[in-house]
Structures are given as structure tokens and as C-alpha cells.
């Protein structure tokens, strides 16, 4: 049943190596067509129809399509539409696509697996009649093209001789390569370009808009604005001999003509400036860089520059502003290695949300698209629906960026909804941050237990019964996904110290989420619950997150318990882990718990238990701080949302009481205890969380700014850092210390999940918490990492063998990468949602607020409004202000503005451009004649700095773990993030 021809391939590697591989050619591969009566198809293998209706006006006969690699790579958006069916995807194409772009490959596989689409993948490379060998001297690409033509001819022939009644579909080869078309026609194959084909398909509105634009070859220099990119082999050679460097391009958010690239071997990232220096690199691309000689190195221009030009067609504007600003001064320590992009190694394009800026000319089809993400340049797209789209949020994919085009070329993917519409805006946030937010599929919902599920008898047998223990939970108000509960009780005494039993009980999510089920896979791919101001995108369906897993008061629930024996100085004497059944006595808010502790008349069990917990937590915290844990801060706010419209009504500082910190301490303790246990049991594949110490260079600007305020901060270790942060207090400016901590937070590295076997043990350290190993165990309802940790812990305490995937170090490492990616994007999405709601809040109001300076730029101040956690630029005109580069200050007469200064600003929403609202900051205090805004007396209230600052400085210290920066704060129905 299988033929056995072998063939030889010769491949060259570093030192020429001959590789011989077998290649089996088969005669049992099916053609997949219902028009064939020879191949022994089973029913579900008949993918292609007997006589499909032609969707295309050019061809009035039934036909199948064969696509070449470039058509798939460039036109995947068109293929995802339902317009094309009965398509043959050759293995040659599939493999090339896989090799060139894994994202497109995945999307193609999804299409193929969708039965309705009738895409058949034919294994032509292993079919005895369609396999061809590369002839001597033939290029791989030419061979592949020939292989595609060969398979096309074979299909035509195969169907013609095996058809049922002499009627059979024709085969049409779709390729944009003219040469290939010519050769195909010589072989008698019907062919067509994708553009011709799609433009003649009727019945699908907007399909043409999704066509990716033709690519001008890099070698063509007609009307070129940009220098040509080097070819891959030139780049490879350049990197090999050390003339070029490889790096990831990061565009600047503030200045569209500036960016940098992190390159191995350079402490500072490489500065790239101007159209030519950036040379069509787009944020995230992997680029090849040539670094200038040292004399030509410059420094970041420090100006805020937006691409505002009115559709300039294809001209590059003057860049003198930028280049002047970046001229180096002698011995400037900010001089950065500078270079230019000479080639693109790999594009990392995704789809971008944004708005259309219709052309001024009526009836034009070429328009500009402005992405929501400031780091992405504007995109030229073609559409005939510009009038409808102008008021919509749209999704656009990039196609190419030829040398003669000012902007990259792209095409419309779909419209998301009207601008300003809450749902459309939320959709934008979710898409931009790659948050999977589709409804849970049938398959996932089928994994759920029934709504009236109760604990089955056999689980009661297996678990420790803690229903009589006085367990309670403490959470923010309105929290419905309660994943932790606590208890504490007096045991006795040892060595003259009182001893206590303290338990942390975590929702037993893994009981419901079994490995490798559809539910498990969906949860893993979501990785985390995402909190927007008015919406929560759950990681697991609501039945679990808000009911069966949630440790509600008064209900019996399954839990995973971590129970310590502790002495009164909070030293852990013993630790045990077990699955249990609990019945929470009360689900309290932080405030309720605080009242229970403070009210000395309360002598009930709950209050007693809480008091013990609170006392021990304080001792734990002190120990932690003594060993060097950092208290950092982020501006945190909380919206009050209208219960019907979901519009924000008011925003306020989050209130924080002792009990927040109490719960946090025990969660930290549980996480570290579990981390030790799973690492001990699974040294190679424990899922842990690390936080690397920041490189000293991160602190440069921060230290300089602190020095201007008269403080020397010692950042050599986390302990000394923590100590000097504590000492940097200005009594009359209570917010100053918090501000310092906010800035310090921004110097930090990201904490990340990793698999223990993938790193050396000295990299496990968690810098922010100052603990040698750490993991996440306490929030399995809303974090997938905790689910993995629960499974590992269950395997190590119950002795039951762990599930196979848990021990697959490589799969776990890939999972850790996904978790980190999702975690980061969930945070960003949350912040974007806060920004969106702030805009809505300010739609009809103007306020005068206290603000602080976060950074001084060449033409602007970056200011923060502590009350709202809002940040933005306050532009300073250069004719009034002079910028001192060495000191990083802006001067105008007597007024000197520097980092950490406190100002009063007027805050309003600029709605002049309805499509792109932005907040405008204007200076009120200190007063600069002719520049500062003068409020009408009595019309506006001015908040006193101290008023708003006092509660925030208190509150922001209580963060359970270092957040990257501002964490969005909960709306009515969301839960604060526990780390």
C-alpha cells in the first residue's frame, strides 16, 4: 500500500554537510473531489463539490481554485471571507506559508478545518504522480512553482478521466506571478490573478476592499522616497561579519520620527531617527541596523512630534526640527549609539484598529487610515465605502510599504462600529490588546457541570472537612469571583509563645477544569480574566467564576487549602496542603472586616479570627520589608458607573484599609509556600514567577530628578533602595513620596512567569518582593498560571501522577510565554479602558486640578493628575520657554519647571476632532503671563493639592506586587487584582 522511492537532498550548513533524507511517495492519497469516482473516499473526505457554482463572472463553468503561496500569504483576509469555496491548498503552499508566517498559517489551518469552506489540502509532495525533483541549478522557488503547476495539471487530468459522467470541474490556478502564469498557460492551465478574480465576484460587499495591494519590488527605484532595503543574504552576510546588527524596532509614542532598537551587546538601545533612519520599519519589526561611527551619535530629541500633515501624497517633509534637537553637545552623557535601518529581517505586522480620514476629493478611493496605536504610522488604504466608514472604527491589515510611498499600504478588514459607541470602543481596546473575547463555544460550555451541581459524595470522602472551621473571605465590594478565604485559630503554645493555626483556602478550580478538555484549552488561551471599567472578560464561564468556584458566604465549596502552624511572631512552624470542603461563614468587604476588627465589643469567632490574622499579617509585612521588599505605587482610581448606561459618573480614589494589606500578606505567604513545595517536587517543570532586578541604567533619569529635589536614592540593592525611598519625604508635600514610588515603579522590569527548568536557580529571585522563589497560587478563577500551579501542587501532595502535559517542559515553557503575553496585554487593556472612560467623563466638563511633573521634554511637560491617574503632555511654546538640556528644566523668566514639581492645570477634552478626542492640559499655576490660563473668578473650584494627595499617598502603598505602572481600578462589579 505504499511505494518506496527514496530521494536524496543535499543541504549545506555551516561546514558543508551532506544530508540525506528519505522521501516516500504514496499512491493512497485522495483527491478530495466528489466528482471523482476512483479514489476510495470516505464520506467525510469528500471536501470538494461535484459541480460548484462559479462565483466569478470571468469563468462561467464549475471550477476549483489552486492558490499559490503568495496569494495565501497576502490575501488571507479575502480567503477568510465566505466568498471563495472549493479551493485546493497544496502541501507545497502549506509548507511555504508555515515557514514564512506562522500566524497566517494558523489562520489557513482554521479555514481548512471549517467544513463549510470546502478547502481541501492535498499532499502533492508525497503523491507519486505530482512529486517533482528539483532540477540541477533550479531555484527552490522555481521548483515550487513548477510543483504547483504540476499538481494543477494532475488534478485536471485526474478529474477528466475519473469523472462520473464526463462532466467535471475545471481547475484554475490563481497566482499573481506573471511569469508563473505564462508558464502555466503553456502547460494548458487556466490561470488568473487574485485581483481579477475577486473583482469579478459578485454578492459580497466590500470584498474588494480586503484585497491586499500589489507589491512593488524593492529593486524598483522609480520615484523612490526611501533607500532600498538590503536583501536577506546581504543582511545575513553583514550580521555575520559584524557590520550590521539585528534588533527589534520600537517606535516612540511621542515622536513619530524617532524610535530605537534593542540590540544585543549594547547597554543602551540604538537610536533611529527620521524617515530615512527608520526606513519603513514599523513598531515590533525585527530589523537589520547599521550603527554610525561614534562622531555621528546623537541623543533622543526629547520632543513631542505628531504626524499632522494633511495627506501630503508622497513627499517626505523636512526633519530639521528633529535633527536640530538631537544635535549632540560635547560630553553629553545622554548620547546614544545611533544608526539606521538598512533592512527588515521579519515583519511583525498585525491588524490595527483606527479610523479613516477620508480624502478631501469627492469620489476618491485612496484614503489615509490613522491607527489608534500612536506608534504605528498612518496607512494608505483603498475603499469605495469611505462615506460609511468615516464615522466608524475600522480594522485594517498592512500589506506592504514600497519605496515610493510615504505611507505603508493596507486594506480594510472590517468595520467595528460607530466611533464613540461604547461597544465599538471596547471592541477596539480588546482587539488592540489581542484579548480573546468571543463567547464561549458550545464545546467549552459542554464541559461545565449542571447549574444545580452539588458536592458529590465521593469528593466528601476524599477531602478534609473544614466546614466547621470559621473561614471567611475579605474582598472589594461587589466582588463576585471570590477565590480566596482565610481562617485563624489559637492552638496552644510552644517555647512560651502562643501558636496559631492559619489557613488560606483557594477555590478548587481544577476540580472543574480538567486537563486537555475544551474548557481547559480555552482558559489556557485566554490566560487571564480581563477587567475593563464596565465589562469583565472571564477566563472561565460565569457559572464557574461567579458561582461554583466562588467561595461565597454560607455555601459549601471545594477548596485547596494551605494550612500553617505559626507562632505569635509569625514564624512558620509547619505547612501542609490539602484539598478540602469549606463553608465560608461570611463574605466581607475590606471595610466590613476592618470594622469587625476595630469594634472591640464584637467577641464572635469571626472577629477574633480576623484580629489574629491582622496581628500576624503586620508581623509578616515587617519581616518582608526588613528583608528588602519594595513598596511601590501606581496611580489608582475607581470609576462610579451608571448602572444602566454603564457610563462613568464619577471617579474617586480607591479607599484602602488595613485589611487589604492583611489579605495580601497571607496570599504572599501562600504563594511562596506553594512555590517551595512544587519546586521541590518538580525541579524541572514548576511554574514560577520571577522579577529580575532592573539594570542600573534604568534609574539614570529617575536619580537625576530625585537629586534636583534634594534626595540621593541608593539603588544598589532592593534593601537600600527601599530604605532610601522611605527616607525621601517632604513633610509639606505628602504626595511627593508616592510620586517618587510611581516613578520608581517605571524603572522596574516586568515580572514574568517561567518554568523552573528553563533558568538557573539564581534567576528565580523576585526583586520586588525580595523573596527567592515565588509563584501564583491564589487566584485560579482568573489566572491560568494558578490553575497550572494547582495541578502541580495536587500531584505533589496527593501522590496521584501528574497529567502528562504538566511534565512536558517545552510545552510548559511555551505556556509561560503565552501567560506573560496575555498578562501584559490584559493590564494594558485595563488601562486603555480607564483612559476611554476618562474621556467620556470629561466630555462635558472642564476642571482645574493639581498635577505633578513626571518628565521634562524639549517642548512639553509630561504631567500626571493624581486624582484621576491621568497622564499627558502639557505643551510649552519655545518662544516663551527655554529648555536646559543638562538640568532637564524648562525656564520662563522666574518660573522654573522641573521633574516632581507640583502644578495646577486646566483639564478639558479637545473634541474639535470628533474622531480623535484627546485631553488637553493647560498651565494655571505657576502663573506665566501670556501663557497660563486664567480662570474666571468664582467660576471654577480649585482643589487643594494636599486634599487629593493625602488619601492617595496612604492608599497606593498597598500593592500586592509591583505593577508595571497604573493598574486600572475596579468598577462596581470588579475585583481588585491580587497578585
Amino acid at each position: 500500500m505504499w511505494t518506496t522511492k527514496t530521494f536524496l537532498t543535499k543541504t549545506k550548513r555551516g561546514n558543508i554537510l551532506k544530508i540525506v533524507r528519505e522521501h516516500y511517495l504514496r499512491d493512497d492519497l485522495l483527491c478530495g473531489s466528489a466528482a471523482c469516482n476512483t479514489c476510495p473516499h470516505k464520506d467525510d473526505e469528500l471536501v470538494l463539490e461535484t459541480s460548484p457554482d462559479s462565483p466569478c463572472a470571468l469563468f462561467d463553468f464549475p471550477h476549483y481554485l489552486v492558490l499559490d503561496t503568495n496569494v495565501v500569504l497576502h490575501q488571507i483576509d479575502v480567503l477568510e471571507e465566505d466568498a471563495l469555496t472549493n479551493v485546493i491548498i497544496l502541501q507545497t503552499v502549506l509548507e511555504e506559508v508555515k515557514h514564512q508566517n506562522t500566524a497566517v498559517f494558523q489562520r489557513l489551518l482554521d479555514i481548512i478545518s471549517n467544513k463549510k469552506r470546502k478547502f481541501y489540502s492535498f499532499v502533492n509532495e508525497h503523491h507519486k504522480d505530482t512529486y517533482i525533483e528539483r532540477s540541477p541549478g533550479e531555484k527552490q522557488n522555481d521548483r515550487n512553482d513548477r510543483s504547483i503547476r504540476k499538481a494543477t495539471s494532475w488534478y485536471e487530468y485526474h478529474l477528466s478521466i475519473n469523472s462520473l459522467d464526463g462532466k467535471f470541474p475545471k481547475i484554475i490556478l490563481v497566482t499573481d506571478d506573471e511569469n508563473n502564469r505564462k508558464l502555466a498557460q503553456e502547460d494548458g492551465i487556466i490561470c488568473c490573478s487574485i485581483k481579477d478574480y475577486i473583482e469579478n465576484v459578485s454578492g459580497f460587499v466590500g470584498l474588494v476592499d480586503k484585497l491586499s495591494k500589489n507589491v512593488m519590488p524593492e529593486t524598483c527605484s522609480k520615484d523612490a522616497l526611501y533607500p532600498a532595503h538590503l536583501t536577506p543574504s546581504q543582511i545575513h552576510e553583514g550580521i555575520r561579519c559584524g557590520q550590521l546588527y539585528q534588533g527589534t524596532y520600537h517606535a516612540s509614542r511621542e515622536n513619530f520620527l524617532e524610535g530605537n532598537a534593542s540590540v544585543n551587546g549594547f547597554e543602551k538601545s540604538i537610536l533611529l531617527q527620521g524617515h530615512i533612519g527608520i526606513n519603513r520599519a514599523i513598531d515590533g519589526d525585527i530589523v537589520a541596523i547599521e550603527i554610525f561611527p561614534k562622531e555621528e551619535w546623537r541623543k533622543p530629541s526629547n520632543i513631542v512630534l505628531e504626524d499632522k500633515t494633511e495627506d501630503p501624497e508622497n513627499i517626505l517633509e523636512e526633519e530639521t526640527v528633529l535633527l536640530d534637537a538631537a544635535k549632540p553637545v560635547d560630553n553629553d552623557d545622554e548620547i546614544t549609539p545611533t544608526g539606521k535601518v538598512v533592512g527588515i529581517i521579519r515583519r511583525k505586522w498585525r491588524q490595527y484598529c483606527g479610523i479613516l480620514m477620508p480624502s478631501k476629493f469627492h469620489g476618491a478611493t485612496r484614503h489615509l487610515f490613522t491607527p489608534a496605536e500612536k506608534r504605528i504610522p498612518r496607512v494608505r488604504i483603498e475603499t469605495r465605502q469611505s462615506e460609511i466608514l468615516a464615522s466608524q472604527r475600522i480594522l485594517v491589515a498592512l500589506d506592504s510599504w514600497p519605496r515610493n510611498s510615504r505611507y505603508p499600504l493596507g486594506h480594510l478588514v472590517r468595520a467595528l462600529g460607530p466611533i464613540g459607541d461604547k461597544d465599538a470602543e471596547n471592541e477596539v481596546i480588546l482587539l488592540e490588546h489581542d484579548v480573546p473575547h468571543a463567547r464561549f463555544s458550545e464545546a467549552v460550555l459542554n464541559c461545565l457541570p449542571p447549574n444545580d451541581w452539588t458536592i458529590p459524595e465521593e469528593e466528601r470522602q476524599k477531602r478534609v472537612d473544614l466546614r466547621d472551621v470559621c473561614v471567611c473571605s475579605v474582598d472589594p465590594p461587589g466582588c463576585t469571583d471570590i477565590d480566596d478565604a482565610l481562617h485563624a485559630r489559637r492552638l496552644g503554645s510552644s517555647d512560651g509563645l502562643a501558636t496559631y493555626e492559619v489557613g488560606v483556602h483557594i477555590a478548587d478550580v481544577t476540580y472543574f477544569v480538567k486537563p486537555d478538555t475544551a474548557l481547559d484549552k480555552e482558559a489556557a488561551s485566554r490566560s487571564t480574566t480581563v477587567y475593563l471599567v464596565d465589562r469583565r472578560i472571564d477566563m472561565v464561564p460565569e457559572l464557574l467564576s461567579s458561582n461554583l468556584c466562588s467561595l461565597r458566604g454560607g455555601e459549601e465549596r471545594l477548596a485547596f487549602s494551605c494550612v500553617w502552624e505559626m507562632d505569635e511572631n509569625a514564624n512558620v512552624l509547619s505547612t501542609k496542603f490539602h484539598k478540602s470542603i469549606i463553608k465560608s461563614k461570611a463574605a466581607m468587604t475590606y471595610e466590613e472586616a476592618q470594622i469587625a476588627i476595630d469594634d472591640s465589643s464584637r467577641k464572635d469567632e469571626i472577629a477574633k479570627s480576623l484580629r489574629v490574622l491582622n496581628k500576624l499579617a503586620k508581623k509578616l509585612k515587617k519581616k518582608r520589608l526588613d528583608s528588602g521588599a519594595l513598596l511601590l505605587a501606581s496611580p489608582e482610581i475607581r470609576f462610579q458607573v451608571d448602572s444602566e448606561t454603564h457610563d462613568p459618573i464619577e471617579v474617586q480614589a480607591k479607599k484602602i484599609v488595613d485589611t487589604n494589606s492583611m489579605v495580601e500578606e497571607f496570599m504572599l505567604l501562600a504563594n511562596t509556600s506553594v512555590a517551595q513545595k512544587i519546586l521541590e517536587e518538580f525541579p524541572q517543570c514548576a511554574m514560577l514567577r520571577r522579577h529580575p532586578a532592573p539594570p542600573p541604567a534604568n534609574f539614570d533619569t529617575f536619580l537625576k530628578a530625585a537629586r534636583q529635589q534634594g534626595f540621593e536614592i541608593d539603588v544598589s540593592t532592593n534593601k537600600s533602595f527601599s530604605k532610601s525611598l522611605n527616607e525621601a519625604v517632604i513633610p509639606e508635600r505628602p504626595f511627593f513620596n508616592t510620586l517618587l514610588r510611581i516613578m520608581a515603579t517605571r524603572c522596574m522590569q516586568q515580572a514574568a512567569y517561567f518554568v523552573s527548568g528553563s533558568l538557573a536557580a539564581d534567576h528565580y529571585y523576585h526583586y520586588g518582593l525580595a523573596c527567592p522563589i515565588y509563584t501564583h497560587f491564589t487566584s485560579p478563577i482568573r489566572r491560568y498560571a494558578d490553575v497550572v500551579v494547582h495541578r502541580l501542587l495536587a500531584a505533589s501532595v496527593a501522590g496521584a501522577g501528574p497529567h502528562a502535559a504538566l511534565l512536558d517542559a517545552r510545552r510548559q515553557a511555551a505556556l509561560a510565554d503565552t501567560l506573560n503575553y496575555r498578562h501584559r496585554h490584559a493590564q494594558l487593556a485595563g488601562r486603555a479602558s480607564v483612559a476611554l472612560n476618562t474621556h467620556i467623563l470629561f466630555k462635558n466638563r472642564v476642571e482645574i486640578e493639581s498635577a505633578v511633573v513626571l518628565a521634562v521634554k524639549r517642548n512639553a511637560l509630561q504631567v500626571l493628575i493624581p486624582k484621576y491617574g491621568l497622564e499627558g503632555p502639557l505643551y510649552l511654546p519655545s518662544e516663551k520657554f527655554t529648555y536646559n538640556e543638562e538640568e532637564h528644566v524648562q525656564k520662563c523668566g522666574d518660573v522654573v519647571l522641573k521633574t516632581f514639581d507640583e502644578l495646577t492645570v486646566r483639564l478639558s477634552l479637545d473634541s474639535s476632532n470628533l474622531q480623535h478626542r484627546k485631553l488637553v492640559f493647560e498651565l494655571v499655576e505657576p502663573h506665566v503671563p501670556g501663557f497660563s490660563y486664567v480662570p474666571d473668578a468664582g467660576n471654577m473650584e480649585v482643589d487643594d493639592v494636599a486634599d487629593t494627595a493625602a488619601p492617595s499617598s496612604e492608599k497606593t502603598h498597598k500593592k500586592r506586587e509591583i505593577p508595571a505602572a497604573a493598574a486600572p481600578k475596579p468598577s462596581k462589579k470588579r475585583k481588585s487584582r491580587r497578585k
Binding site: W2, L17, V20, Y24, L25, G801, A804
Partner: protein, 250 residues
């Protein structure tokens, strides 16, 4: 631990085989005249020569009054892999291979029939493309038959690995070099398929218990399939009548 990408979405392996298909096996008995028995065997691109001497009187030091002493020597030709390497005879890897071969082959030979004697089996790998141990056992099995030494049964060896096709795990029989190199697990089993007994079992990596049975079953099935092929070759060899060796000795 199943390695990624060993199976395509259409369920074919990298070289075009289905998961349960062996590589092409070609073999020939009696390729040399000097030894008492010899065989040449190709399993895909892995090519092996085996020669058997004996039984003859055992050297004093090794002699056993109970059973025949089986002596194996495994070596790889300098040109057998992509990178040419001078392999001293008796390096660690060869010694280990020799020991494992000896274990598998001793299980098949009716050792009790020749006390105080010795059988020498020499195996040379001419080209290596994964599964050299399996090919060596299979070639030696043929060479033993060619030499006329009484065997309990055919001894054959086969390897198996684990691939993943979307969500389901699929064991892969007769692992080639690229599949071996893909960092998955490779289980090698030598068995006497007609009796169902296992002479040797070895794994290159950790394999989860959940998957062990399916991989082992597939490797055992591979052993049975190989036995059928070897048996066919032996029968054909005999049907051809006189072997070259016989022609010369007459």
C-alpha cells in the same frame, strides 16, 4: 513528551509515512563467503552488515560449561554519518551497543546446545539514519539464520516515538534520524515476536505513563511486521536454492 511537528495536519510524517508504517526494509542473506553466516539489511537509509562466526571452541577465559558464549562487536563506519568522524573501535557508545545486542541475540539463540563454545557476531553500520540498533538486531537475526545456528524464534527490534496531531497523541513506528533528533522520546524494543517476549527495552527520554502503553504497543507491532518481512526474505533466499557459499564449498 511528544515532540512538536512530527505529524502534518494531514497525518503524514516528515518523510511521508503514516504513523504505523515502517521504513522500506530490504535485505539479503549470505552476502559473504568467509563467515559462517552473514546478512545485509537496509532500513530506510540505515544500512547494516552482519557476520557470524561459530560456534567454535571458546577461549579459555570466557568458556562456560553451561551454554555458548555470545560475543558481539558493533562498530560504525567512518563514513556512516553526515559528519565524517574517526570512531575508534570499542568507544563507549559502541561498547554499550554491543552489550545491548548481545542481550537481545542471546535471548534468541538456543545457547544450551553448545556448551564450551563461542559465537562471534560482528556488526558494521555502513550508513546511519536513525534506528541503528534496530537494524543491527534485525541484520544479526538474519545472519544467525544464515549460519544455521538454532534459534528459539526470530529476534527483531523496532523503535517508536510519540507525535501529536492537533490534540491527540499518535505513536510513530520505526523512528528515523530527523524524528529522533526532534527531542521527543524514542523507545526501542527488541523482542521475539512469535513468543511475545521482550528481550530488551530502552528509552532515550522520559515518557509519561499515560503514553507508555500506546508507544510500546506500536513498537511491538513494528517488531511483528519486521518479522514477517524477514521471514519472507529467508524463505525467498532458501527458495533460490544454492547460496554462493554452498556453490564454493561443493
Amino acid at each position: 513528551m511528544p515532540a512538536a511537528d512530527l505529524l502534518s495536519s494531514q497525518g503524514l510524517r516528515l518523510d511521508g509515512r503514516r504513523p504505523n508504517e515502517l521504513r522500506r526494509i530490504r535485505c539479503k542473506l549470505g552476502v559473504f563467503t568467509q563467515p559462517d553466516g552473514s546478512a545485509y539489511l537496509e532500513q530506510g537509509n540505515t544500512k547494516v552488515l552482519a557476520a557470524v562466526y561459530g560456534p567454535h571452541q571458546a577461549s579459555k577465559s570466557k568458556m562456560s560449561t553451561e551454554a555458548v558464549v555470545v560475543n558481539c562487536q558493533y562498530s560504525m563506519a567512518t563514513f556512516s554519518t553526515g559528519e565524517r568522524k574517526n570512531r575508534p573501535r570499542g568507544d563507549r557508545k559502541s561498547q554499550e551497543m554491543s552489550m545491548h545486542l548481545r542481550q537481545a541475540l542471546t535471548a534468541a539463540i538456543k545457547t544450551e546446545m553448545y556448551p564450551r563454545s563461542q559465537i562471534d557476531i560482528y556488526i558494521e553500520v555502513l550508513q546511519a539514519d536513525g534506528g541503528t540498533y534496530c537494524a543491527s538486531v534485525n541484520a544479526a537475526s538474519l545472519a544467525l539464520i544464515d549460519s544455521g545456528i538454532p534459534l528459539r524464534a526470530y529476534v527483531t527490534a523496532c523503535s517508536a516515538s510519540l507525535g501529536r496531531q492537533s490534540a491527540t497523541h499518535e505513536p510513530l513506528v520505526d523512528v528515523s534520524h530527523i524524528e529522533e533528533a526532534a527531542d521527543g522520546v524514542c523507545l526501542t524494543v527488541a523482542s521475539l515476536p512469535s513468543t511475545g517476549s521482550i528481550a530488551l527495552l530502552e528509552m532515550s527520554n522520559r515518557l509519561h505513563m499515560d503514553h507508555f502503553n500506546i508507544v510500546l504497543t506500536r513498537a511491538m507491532q513494528g517488531c511483528r511486521d519486521i518479522e514477517v518481512i524477514l521471514d519472507g526474505a529467508v524463505r525467498q533466499h532458501l527458495a533460490e536454492g544454492w547460496t554462493k557459499q554452498d556453490v564454493i564449498t561443493i
